[in-house]
């Protein structure tokens, strides 16, 4: 018998628990010829701001040991373009869509969320790692007050859609921030965003990235991500979307065991654009082989007695 991969993410029913991580799969359509988008649990869109953004000067990516740094700088065409061109096309293809909203002010986050909710997306993810212009570039996710304010604004704008707060692990105490956004109405968490990092070009004696610093992702951050999922699962009752360095079915299983209800593939898409759908197939096989009839049996299973 085929194992049951269906999960319920705070009311969002997904036929399988494998998603794409924001910013690593574009708007999905870039991969439409290569990947069966309908076979992915849900496509999480690249973070979108109200108006279009140019992004950071190049170089924007560089490889590091078992990982990479990026400083894309939220380049995106703006909410109106994505709402009118991308969302209808994804819906036509039968894809479940989670919009990732970003902004420089609390109001901007709310407005972007409102537009995506009106366009009929299935859920909203709040990218809390954006710099707050009013606070000199501190990210929204780094204090309880700012994280809660943004989450509340998005919660209000999103109607009855699930709202997932996407957190990093630096800048503030993870559990305190998670508590603040939960109180502000988050339906669940996306864990984790990239870690801050820097790479040096020895020959030119300067940082590699045009933006000097960037976000670290890939296998190098997997232990940090598992730690974050473990902590947040243990402390809160809300569902967690786990991500950070997932490159295989086994990696995904580790996240479920630590408490993730769903997983997202990020950097792994660059190495293998079909990794999401291959993990869906891999999970079916792995569960069948271990006589597990339902993925939900594994969620948080590593916590038993810990």
């Amino acid at each position: 018998m085929k194992p049951d991969l269906e999960v319920n993410l705070a009311g969002l029913r997904l036929k399988n628990p494998v998603l794409t991580a924001s910013g690593t799969f574009g708007f999905g359509l870039e991969y439409a010829r290569l990947v069966d988008l309908g076979a992915i649990g849900a496509v999480v869109l690249k973070s979108v701001t109200l108006h279009s953004r140019q992004g950071n000067p190049p170089p924007r990516v560089t490889e590091t040991p078992a990982g990479m740094l990026n400083s894309i700088g939220l380049e995106n065409p703006g909410a109106p373009a994505v709402v009118s061109k991308v969302v209808p096309e994804l819906k036509r293809l039968g894809v479940k869509v989670i919009a990732s909203v970003a902004g420089e002010t609390v109001e901007e986050y709310g407005e972007v969320a409102r537009r995506f909710a009106a366009a009929g997306v299935d859920a909203i993810e709040v990218n809390l790692s954006c710099p707050n212009v009013a606070r000199g570039g501190l990210t929204f996710g780094c204090t309880r007050g700012m994280a809660a304010a943004v989450t509340a604004a998005v919660r209000q704008a999103a109607g009855d859609l699930p709202v997932f707060a996407k957190l990093g692990v630096t800048g503030g105490n993870l559990l305190e921030i998670a508590g603040a956004v939960a109180e502000a109405g988050a339906s669940g968490f996306s864990l984790i965003n990239t870690l801050p990092g820097l790479a040096v070009d020895l020959r030119q004696r300067r940082p590699v990235l045009g933006n000097v610093t960037g976000g670290l992702s890939g296998p190098a951050i997997k232990p940090v991500a598992l730690w974050a999922v473990w902590q947040v699962y243990k402390a809160f009752k809300l569902p967690v979307i786990g991500m950070g360095g997932i490159m295989s079915t086994s990696d995904a299983l580790e996240f479920f065991l630590c408490g993730a209800t769903a997983v997202a593939v990020g950097t792994g898409n660059f190495v293998n654009p079909r990794l999401t759908t291959e993990i869906v197939a891999g999970l079916e096989k792995a569960l069948a082989a271990e006589h597990v009839s339902d993925i939900k049996e594994l969620i948080g299973a590593a916590h038993n007695g810990k």
């Binding site: 870039e30 010829r33 290569l34 000067p57 924007r60 660059f270």
Partner: protein, 259 residues
Amino acid sequence: MIYEVEIVTQRKVATGCYRLEMYAPEVAQTAQPGQFLMLKTSITLDPLLRRPFSINTVDRDRGLVKILYRVVGRGTALLAGRKLGRRLSIFGPLGRGFTVPANGRFLVVAGGLGIAPLYFLIQRLKALGNEVVVFYGAQNRFKLLLLEELAAMRVELFTATDNGSSGHKGTVVDLLRTKGIPPADLIYAAGPPPMLKALAALLREAEMPRAEFSLEERMACGAGACRGCAVKVIAEEGPVYKRVCADGPVFLAGEVVWE
């Protein structure tokens, strides 16, 4: 688009430079000059990302595809050590290549490994009966690659080397400046950024703006999704970032903002 292919031959063509041939019939069928492949150089998680390489030539009948590359870091070093008969994961052909018209006279300017995509272009241009003039520069004569193959194609070839060991002493752009830019319906170029920048300036002075340049930038996805490979170009609405992997790698010399 993603294939596990077999390495058929791999030859050292100069110090640190290799030409690798793989059996990839689908790619051989559809590849256009200027397009590239993303290769996995390792079977472990480190190095992690695929590496981009231009398609150097294809043999449609035999289903073969070649790349020409220089060892500059860990990924290329691992590739050079890959055994024949072993499997290699490739993703491609990717990107928008050069335009390949017929019935014309064309100028090709190559610097160093820039010959990799241009060789394929020259083949296609010649196959369509075009007249092709090639200006090719490298550090020294040992680093001028594929000279015999170019000679066999009967292109008019001018070389330049930094130390004067072959042809003009100086850069290929110096040589063009000295000899004068031959009349051409379209100019093509690929090479290191300083060369392309100097060539773009020369072409602007000469009021010969019709040129297609193949650019390089560090890449993650190669598929237009991550926006990691940004290059600044002038669009109608002003300067914007475009993606080398999906909007290029071939751009018009006049549209690129050289920084």
